[in-house]
């Protein structure tokens, strides 16, 4: 691979891996706190999947950039501005409704993302990975969608909480679909699909589910952004101090 295309692949992998790691970490915060035992099994299992996706992608990134010797170094030993995840995934969990709505938004996006990578991607290992990732993100999307409908179509209170969750997450959705110079380059090189190209499929599915739950589809306007450039929100610092604690306190520790 030429140098510049290696840089592109590294950065592209990092963006997806960071999204998965950070949402995986947030989701894992529910362990022991979920409203029922079944959800207490489900959410950490999903967190495990998300972190597993991140781990595999970090490993691929390490093969490309020799500055990083293993996936732990990428996951745990970078500084705040070196993480390229979306602001959406780093926000605090809020209540259970807010958590499942975010999971629904993200996993539905990733489902269509991997579906496109499966069809076209110049990086063979990622193309192979996408076959499996597509199946798992589809399952997450389905799980979360059922809760969105159940809570939206539940009591007045649960509907209100879901409406609040929609309003709460709305400012962060623009970034999910935002194309930039980098995403355009990835698309031109048949590496990754442009985020905006996923919008129509995503909207059709999300709108139908929200409708079933008597909920309004949010306005998708680019309001808050910065994650892709390493500019994060306040919540992220607290998250990282928790996520990185073990590796910072005991460098190179392993299980």
């Amino acid at each position: 691979m030429k140098n510049n295309s290696a840089d592109m692949v590294f950065e592209g992998l990092l963006r997806i891996a960071d999204d998965n790691l950070i949402l995986g970490h947030r989701t894992s915060e529910w362990c022991g706190h979920a409203p029922t035992l079944e959800e207490d099994l489900a959410l950490p299992n999903i967190a495990l999947d998300l972190i597993g996706h991140a781990q595999t992608l970090y490993c691929l990134a390490c093969e490309i950039d020799s500055r990083y010797k293993n996936e732990d170094q990428l996951a745990f030993l970078r500084l705040e501005h070196e993480y390229k995840n979306l602001l959406l995934v780093e926000q605090e969990n809020g209540d259970f409704g807010n958590t499942v709505l975010r999971l629904f938004y993200f996993s539905t996006f990733m489902k269509y993302f991997w579906e496109r990578v499966k069809i076209k991607c110049c990086f063979k290992k990622l193309k192979e990975f996408s076959e499996k990732a597509f199946l798992e993100t589809s399952y997450h999307s389905k799980y979360a969608s059922q809760w969105v409908v159940t809570l939206g179509d539940g009591t007045d209170e649960s509907n209100l909480k879901m409406s609040n969750a929609i309003a709460n997450l709305e400012p962060f959705l623009g970034e999910l679909f935002n194309n930039d110079d980098f995403t355009e380059m990835c698309s031109q090189n048949d590496f990754l699909p442009e985020p905006r190209s996923i919008f129509d499929s995503w909207k059709n599915e999300v709108e139908a589910i929200l409708q079933k739950g008597n909920l309004d589809f949010p306005a998708i306007i680019l309001k808050k952004r910065g994650g892709r450039k390493g500019e994060h929100s306040e919540a992220f610092g607290y998250l990282l101090s928790d996520l990185q604690y073990m590796q910072r306190a005991y460098p190179n520790s392993s299980w």
Partner: protein
């Protein structure tokens, strides 16, 4: 099976899965290929789930078993084609049921992801009057059911 790898297959065939210790990796269809390149033996495994925590244990088990016969293998993960529950052997399905886990249905448009699954048999009392309690059971590869007749909860191995 590549010629010259018979001995390796033979050594690995009885290794068990860390989370389903009554099943061998062979029952699960996790070991996909053993090849010999210039210097090394390459063992390719297909993880049941990308984030399956058993994978690193499986890798260590394979390495330590082969070390006993003087081989240090390269172990590679493969996601294409993705691991499918259809790769679980008949014998594996039988053992699963004996252990109290309802085995996965054969994969088709209706069963994939368990989306339209109607009939799941209770492994305890064989009743089909069962209901899904949770999309996830004790591990990512299983969902949680309960039997409406004998009232027992049980894991159902997902169809993927």
């Amino acid at each position: 099976m590549e010629k010259g790898t018979e001995k390796l297959w033979d050594v690995l065939k009885d290794l068990t899965d860390p989370e389903l210790p009554f099943l061998t990796l062979d029952d699960l269809g996790v070991i996909r290929e053993i090849k010999r390149n210039d210097k090394n033996h390459v063992v390719t495994i297909a993880p049941t789930y990308i984030g399956c925590p058993a994978i690193s244990v499986i890798e260590k088990k394979i390495a330590s078993e082969l070390k006993k016969i003087g081989i240090s293998p390269i172990i590679e993960k493969s996601f294409s084609p993705p691991w499918s529950s259809d790769w679980i052997s008949e014998n594996g399905r039988k053992k699963m049921e004996d252990f109290g886990i309802s085995p996965p249905h054969p994969r088709n448009a209706e069963t994939i992801g368990d989306s339209l699954l109607k009939e799941v048999k209770c492994p305890q009392c064989t009743s089909y009057r069962t209901e899904k309690v949770s999309e996830f059971g004790s591990t990512a590869c299983k969902s949680l059911y309960r039997c409406l007749d004998c009232k027992e909860p049980f894991d159902h191995f997902k169809c993927v």
